[in-house]
């Protein structure tokens, strides 16, 4: 499998062509979070419906490349119905996957974290790929540092939505 096939795996192309959980949710009761990739101008909007400690529903809108769109779709499918701590754990695991191999340089890996940390993180956060299920298909992205922001865009937006929710409570 060459790098490109590794990047554009069948499962990714499938989620890109047939995005899951696409659409919007009425706010309120849902929460809306918006993420923006300044490098390309793409945008993802995440709608979250949280009841108690559970993310009962999620929808995705916005537009972007195949990586960002499929990542959002895979994410939505993976987190829907999970408890908030589970979702948080998944976010952490996913982002750790996106910064392993040390290919991600400093702030490239994730604009939201001080790079020093991000870099140190690459060695120390154990990535449990099994726990990621279909999401593991996105690991080919780390070989393409410029595209890591594509893959993490929806996840950062989700995290931001959860933060806002938590702060509002």
């Amino acid at each position: 499998m060459n790098d490109l096939e590794d990047l554009y795996r069948e499962i990714i192309l499938d989620h890109y062509r047939n995005p899951r959980q696409r659409g919007e949710l009425p706010t309120p009761p849902a929460t809306r979070a918006e993420g923006f990739n300044p490098l390309c101008g793409d945008e993802v909007v995440v709608f979250l419906q949280v009841e108690g400690d559970r993310l009962v529903d999620i929808r995705i809108s916005g537009q972007g490349c195949s990586i960002s769109q499929s990542s959002a779709s895979l994410m939505a499918a993976a987190v829907k119905g999970k408890s908030l701590p589970e979702v948080r754990r998944l976010i952490a695991t996913f982002k750790a996957m996106m910064s392993v191999h040390g290919t991600a340089l400093g702030s490239d890996a994730d604009g939201e974290e001080p790079s020093g940390e991000a870099e140190d993180a690459s060695g120390i956060v154990p990535v449990d790929l099994d726990s990621l299920g279909e999401l593991a298909a996105l690991q080919g992205v780390v070989k393409f540092p410029v595209r890591i922001k594509c893959a993490t865009l929806s996840w950062n937006t989700l995290a931001q939505g959860l933060d806002e929710l938590a702060a509002a409570r």
């Binding site: 790098d3 490109l4 192309l13 390309c40 972007g64 990586i67």
Partner: protein, 422 residues
């Protein structure tokens, strides 16, 4: 203008691209087992051996700080640096090269120098600056910044359906304007506005003409006089020169009426505890140690380009653009949209592509796998992208070292993107 002659020049076919390619070490690189098909010269060009050698020679045999060192090494550095200024000035037909050529760090700094140093001194609240929808952020953000600081009015020359500047309201737009800031060639569409004609209208209206030559100067014979420019900015790295250097040319009397931009060593006549006396142009605008090795490299790049002939380069690119427009349309028909003027004679060698609904970044990624380098993104021209109704395009651009095989490689790679995302 020179490009018209160049375009009908039968010598176009003479450009020995195979030999030229050998001058560029990186083009012999293999990426993932494939030869490099470099189609991103509009972002930055590659460097021929004479440029690399000139810089190396400088560092190994002639480096010292400039500003009139007495010893032989410093004299060499001084001479090389000032000679580079003359080479650059003559290259663009500057009437007084020694005084009118300012070395900057890139085209962007040159345009900021005009907006901030000339503009702050000479523009008043309510003054009108005309920009065009074709502008790169480099000739836009400095004016937006100044407009905010000084309450200037920004007026826009828009593009028409044919991706050319709409000149129907020109007189109106220019009325009372103090500045026309205009790109001589769009880095997104390849559009080349009739700068000379616009400059004449601007001058009649009493406006200065600030030309962003970042895309034009590397690709065509340019003469500041016939262009009608009052200021002209461009970058070394887009014309086979080093990074870290740009040029601002300005008419001598305008530079003389421009206060300093950066303060520091080398730009003063005297400094006292209570003030300073700025030096004359161009030194006035070159605070601190200038990009000396880079100036030497840029001069070598200019000599390299002149050795081949700017008219021949322009003709070659024109030929290649026409070839690519035809081949790509032939092969992909409606699957491929190429933003920009249809007519090859109205545009530079820049093709902004939209292939079906494949996202430009995905397209560029797939092309890269075939060794084909194109740039995806907004190309630092967001207002123009909004006007085109897209967030990004994939842009292929040609230079003297590209040939028809490169166009074919682009086409083949596009086809494989089609089957991947099909």
């Amino acid at each position: 203008m020179a490009e018209l002659t160049a375009r009908s020049d039968p010598r176009a076919a003479e450009l020995d691209v195979a030999a030229i390619k050998r001058d560029f070490p990186v083009l012999a690189e293999r990426f993932r087992g494939r030869r490099l098909v470099y189609l991103d010269s509009a972002a930055s060009a590659q460097h021929p051996l004479p440029v690399l050698r000139a810089q190396e020679h400088y560092y190994e045999h002639a480096h010292a700080n400039v500003h009139r060192g007495v010893y032989a090494l410093a004299e060499r550095a001084d001479q090389l640096y000032e000679r580079a200024r003359l080479t650059v000035g003559r290259f663009i037909g500057a009437p007084d090269p020694a005084r009118e050529v300012v070395f900057t760090k890139n085209a962007t700094e040159g345009l900021n120098l005009v907006a901030q140093a000339w503009g702050r001194r000479h523009l008043r609240p309510g003054d009108v600056v005309v920009v065009t929808e074709l502008e790169h952020h480099a000739n836009l953000v400095p004016w937006l910044m100044l407009a905010e600081e000084r309450q200037l009015e920004l007026r826009w020359l828009e593009i028409d359906e044919g991706f050319r500047l709409d000149l129907s309201r020109l007189t109106e737009v220019l009325r009372g304007a103090r500045v026309l800031a205009i790109s001589a060639m769009s880095n997104v569409l390849g559009t080349m506005p009739p700068v000379a004609e616009l400059a004449e209208a601007a001058h009649r209206a009493g406006a200065l003409v600030v030309v962003d030559g970042a895309q034009l100067v590397p690709h065509q014979p340019v003469d500041v006089g016939s262009l009608g420019a009052d200021f002209l900015a461009f970058s070394g790295h887009k014309m086979c020169g080093p990074t870290g250097i740009g040029v601002l040319w300005g008419r001598a009397e305008l530079l003389a009426a421009t206060p300093p931009f950066l303060g520091g060593g080398g730009m003063i006549k005297d400094v006292r505890r209570d003030g300073f006396v700025p030096d004359d142009p161009p030194q006035r605008f070159e605070a601190g140690t200038p990009p000396i090795a880079e100036a030497v490299g840029l001069a070598a790049a200019i000599e390299y380009l002149q050795g081949i002939g700017l008219d021949r380069i322009a003709a070659h690119e024109h030929h290649l653009t026409a070839y690519a427009l035809e081949r790509l349309q032939q092969r992909f028909g409606r699957d491929l949209v190429i933003h920009g003027p249809r007519e090859p004679e109205a545009r530079g060698a820049v093709l902004s592509l939209a292939y079906r609904d494949v996202h430009p970044h995905d397209l560029a990624q797939v092309l890269d796998q075939a060794g084909v380098c194109v740039r995806a993104g907004h190309h630092c021209a967001k207002p123009l992208m909004r006007r085109l109704g897209v967030a990004a395009t994939a842009r292929a651009s040609f230079y003297l070292y590209n040939d028809e095989d490169d166009v074919e490689a682009l086409a083949d790679a596009l086809a494989s993107a089609g089957s991947l995302f099909g």
